[in-house]
């Protein structure tokens, strides 16, 4: 067997890790083994700094069919249907090449969902950039959006939502998180644990090229000043092949007795195969000469570690291989038999009959954990004094024009929102609604996180992100039943960032426990810092809300003039953390922690009232506060809203509460009854009008109004 010539620490392994590996193996490792180990033991693959911490997240729930550790979380939605969902980051590749970085991010998360046996049904994108208006940011934003559109539209999966925030801390480290949602019947659920000596691995999809080698290790290293040097590592996605891969995979899963399946992501073939083996407690023999290549001269380590896109690894009994290959061939896609299961737990890599390496799968799979050394204490800033008075009407217009509140229609308008016929409510407000099939159960889906909140308190910000995501699905009448998340942070080796990592996990755990929402999985992206500037902690939450009858979700029909406008829940009692405070130049402060009792009560009310058809439209009060939310209803419906508000204080009008909704109803009496029974504070504030304008009356202030066209001009900034 070839021996050791490289110093493994030059591959990014720490001396202590090398020692650990040698001890486990009982010998020196070969170059090939070090190469594989350096990738599989990278932060990106091994979660060295976060794995222990993540066990604090609640994961139990009666609807959870597959939780953390699976390719995607899977939740029961009734009538034999289930939903699979996962969010993942593709930050560093997108910083280097925004279009292809985002495109391959979409392709990558799609294959995670596919690996559960689900048909990918929708994407959401969560984007963070430095402040707009600089050439670099605009270029990144345009490229990323074009990349998502390119891959998503072409692969035939709609993009139905997302969020987008600008903050100076993302200037050098933009974030691109992608979420995929898929549907499956319960019996279609698949697992990635390999088993059965002699079963064969079938590599399905693209030929293996030199692209993306070392990508995983690359993602774990802080972006260098000149990221351009990392350029050859950029991969190009082929959504056309991605589409063939979906169809071929699903057809083989439907027709053949597939034992296990896994997508190829970070760590390439080695990553997928070793994970499958380690999960199943078995080993494998790999035949590298059978891997279809794009360039003839790939070295064994390159074949093992290449992160070429659009590939899946399936495990089948030998007798089923010919049929699976025939299916693949008919659909125009390559399928190669590249190895078989060994019972002894060893990974034996061979090329043309020659044994190149043999090492236990468990050694590769069990990276030593890295301890966190979080800074102590929570540096939440004190709550500052409130600005007083001011002209609410002009403040509203100014808020709507802020980059973080302006319209996202120009962005989601470039995404196919409908393909697949599952989109019942398109993007526009809060969550989108999907049905598993016409007439079948479905879900409301949203991704959320507000950098402004996390900037001053990672912990409160994280719990508020869970609350907002829950509110957004509840606005469609859905019950939040599970969440997936992506934790984007700076280097865990810095005590402050380690503290933030602990805080965001605790914040999510707190809110998830308080609201009874299990965490079904997620992804951690660390080292988002460069030039001494780290991002604001960014725990992106992807929420799944259950809708037994999505075709009757809140928001499927339109409100009618004359319907009443209600406030449900708890109005804001302070301005801290709000966009208004930022606009007013008040020193930033930590937002109020979530009001869980009030939120729980409304989260109970909306699904019940929605199912009874009592609510035509609901929208939660979030960024910008109450007046902004009212304006958004006027913008969204094309109708008018006329209200009389109880208070004229800035905190009431512009504070950002954690448990407040606006609801439009044709039957206020019924909603009031329900609210009383559930302990929801409710107030009727006005009505929907035919003429498209927002009319606002407040105590001691003259009545004022804004035409929809004026509101439109304010929000209508062209971001692309």
């Amino acid at each position: 067997m070839p021996l050791n010539t490289v110093d493994p620490t030059t591959l990014g392994l720490r001396p202590s890790e090398c020692e650990f590996a040698r001890r486990q193996a009982g010998r020196e490792l070969s170059d090939l083994e070090w190469a594989v180990l350096s990738v599989l033991w990278s932060e990106h693959c091994a979660y060295k700094h976060s794995r222990a911490l993540l066990s604090r997240l609640p994961r139990e729930g009666e609807r959870v069919l597959a939780g953390p550790g699976a390719g995607a979380g899977v939740l029961d939605i009734g009538e034999g249907w289930a939903v699979a969902a996962k969010v993942e980051s593709h930050n560093h590749p997108s910083a280097v090449e925004p279009l292809q970085g985002a495109a391959t991010g979409i392709g990558g998360i799609m294959r995670d969902v596919l690996s559960m046996g689900a048909r990918p049904a929708a994407f959401l994108d969560s984007l963070r950039f430095g402040m707009p208006g600089t050439g670099r940011t605009d270029y990144l934003l345009r490229g990323v959006v074009a990349g998502i559109a390119h891959y998503g539209n072409c692969v035939g999966v709609p993009t139905v939502g997302g969020d987008l925030y600008f903050h100076p801390s993302y200037e050098r480290n933009p974030l691109v998180n992608a979420m995929c949602v898929g549907f499956l019947r319960h019996e279609q659920l698949r697992d990635s644990a390999a088993s059965g000596e002699g079963n064969r691995f079938l590599l399905l999809g693209a030929r293996t090229g030199r692209d993306g080698i070392g990508g995983a290790a690359f993602a774990s290293v802080t972006l260098r000043e000149d990221a351009a040097e990392d350029r050859p590592r950029v991969q190009v996605g082929d959504p056309f092949l991605g589409k063939l891969l979906i169809e071929a995979t699903l057809e083989i899963l439907a027709c053949e007795p597939v034992v296990a399946i896994q997508d190829l992501g970070a760590g390439g073939l080695a990553g997928a195969l070793i994970e499958m083996c380690a999960k199943g407690g078995v080993g494998a023999e790999v035949w590298l000469e059978r891997v279809p290549l794009r360039a003839a001269d790939l070295a064994p380590a390159e074949i093992l570690l290449s992160e070429s896109q659009e590939r899946m690894l399936l495990l089948l009994p030998p007798a089923s291989i010919p049929a699976a290959q025939a299916t693949a061939q008919r659909l125009g896609i390559i399928a190669a038999e590249v190895g078989e299961v060994r019972a002894d737990g060893e990974i034996a890599v061979t090329m043309g009959g020659e044994l190149l390496s043999r090492l236990s799968a468990a050694i590769y799979a069990e990276a030593p954990m890295a301890p966190l050394a979080p800074a102590s204490g929570n540096a939440d800033a004190p709550v500052p004094a409130e600005p007083q008075g001011g002209d609410a009407r002009s403040a509203l217009l100014a808020l709507l024009a802020r980059p973080n509140l302006s319209s996202r229609a120009g962005i989601y308008g470039t995404y196919d929102q409908d393909v697949g016929l599952r989109t019942v409510v398109r993007p526009g407000l809060d969550a989108a609604v999907l049905r598993a099939a016409p007439g079948a159960p479905g879900v409301a889906v949203a991704v959320d996180q507000t950098p402004r909140y996390c900037e001053r308190s990672a912990r409160i910000g994280a719990s508020l992100a869970v609350c907002e995501a829950a509110r957004n699905v509840a606005a469609r009448g859905a019950v939040p039943i599970g969440l997936t998340n992506c934790l984007n942070l700076g280097s865990p080796e810095r005590p402050e960032a380690a503290r933030e990592l602990v805080d965001v996990v605790d914040g999510i755990a707190e809110a998830a426990n308080e609201l009874g929402i299990p965490v079904t999985g997620g992804n951690v992206s660390l080292y988002n810092e460069s030039g001494g500037l780290a991002i604001v902690p960014t725990p992106v939450i992807g929420m799944i809300g259950h809708l037994p009858d999505p075709e009757r979700a809140i928001g499927v029909g339109s409100p009618i003039p004359g319907m009443r406008v209600l406030l449900l829940g708890q109005p804001a009692d302070r301005l801290a953390g709000s966009e208004f405070a930022e606009l007013a130049g008040v020193q930033p402060a930590a937002p109020a922690p979530p009001d869980y009792p009030a939120l729980r009560a409304v989260l109970n009310l909306l699904p019940a009232a929605g199912a009874a058809g009592e609510i035509a439209l609901a929208h939660d009060v979030a960024d910008g506060g109450l007046l902004v939310a009212l304006a958004e209803i006027v913008l969204h419906t094309g109708l008018g809203v006329s209200v009389n508000l109880a208070e004229a204080t800035p905190r009431y009008l512009f504070g950002e509460p954690s448990a407040l909704f606006i609801a439009v109803t044709g039957d206020p009496g019924a909603v009031l009854l329900r609210a009383a029974a559930l302990g929801v504070r409710v107030k009727e504030i006005g009505e929907v009008t035919q003429s498209a304008q927002l009319v606002v009356g407040m105590p001691t202030e003259p009545l004022w109004s804004l035409e929809r066209a004026q509101l439109q001009r304010a929000v209508g900034r062209d971001l692309l």
Binding site: G156, D416, V419
Partner: protein, 235 residues
């Protein structure tokens, strides 16, 4: 009645179209046919669905238009069968020379997905026979290369032969540049083949065949095939 949906590698509205046809053509035999094995010898209606056939590489629809499947489609047309090209299907028919013109990238230079209004400019086609001229439909579009180009001469010809099927318009039916989403010549959203039995259109009727969620204006177009069968099948 037999209706076939052709699947090219990269088609992605094939299942959607079948699902909508199931509703629109009750009792019809629906088949999803892979392009390589296409047999339309018993077909009454063939639909080329939306998507990105062959990745839309080179030009949208160009590679699919040269595939052997198109021979079957041409034969069906010669026999008087019905052919409906939706979005990418329309692009394929144009690239194949079955319908005139050519497509360019939307004038805004990016993909567009939203509801538009279209006005029925001609009902001289089975597909449009259930609608009156001037009727306004609300249908979704989803395309990057939907900017339909014909020469002024071709336009005159198409107009005089009643072969402009649909034009983008406002909710009130007014055809104005502001309501033209992609820059198409004279707001053309759909055109007919010589005998009205071939229709190519950019909007997606199959995405608007769903009354239960308030999107149903595409049903009438999909039902059009019934009118021919009611008259006694193919010509």
């Amino acid at each position: 009645m037999i209706a076939d949906v052709v699947v090219f590698p990269g088609s992605n509205c094939d299942f959607d179209t079948l699902e909508a046809l199931r509703l629109a053509l009750p009792g019809a035999t629906l088949r999803r046919q892979w392009h390589g094995e296409l047999d339309l010898s018993r077909s009454d209606l063939c639909v080329l669905p939306g998507g990105f056939a062959y990745g839309d590489y080179l030009r949208a629809g160009a590679l699919a238009a040269r595939s052997p499947a198109l021979r079957e489609v041409r034969r069906l047309i010669e026999r008087g069968g019905l052919v409906l090209g939706i979005c990418n299907g329309f692009q394929v028919l144009v690239e194949a020379g079955i319908l005139p013109g050519a497509f360019q990238t939307n004038d805004v230079q990016h993909f567009l997905c939203r509801d538009v209004h279209v006005r029925v400019a001609s009902s001289e086609s089975p597909f449009l026979s259930g609608l009156r001229e001037g009727a306004v439909l609300q249908l979704p579009i989803a395309h990057q290369e939907g900017n339909y180009r014909v020469t002024p001469r071709e336009f005159e010809e198409l107009s005089s032969e009643g072969r402009i099927a649909l034009q983008y318009c406002g909710a009130d039916g007014e055809i104005v540049p502001r309501e033209n989403p992609n820059g198409s010549y004279h707001s053309i959203a759909g055109v007919l083949g010589a005998h009205g039995r071939v229709l190519g259109l950019m909007p997606h009727p199959e995405r608007a065949a769903w009354p239960e969620i308030g999107r149903a204006d595409g049903l009438e177009i999909l039902r059009g095939a019934l009118s021919v069968v009611a008259e006694g099948g193919r010509a």
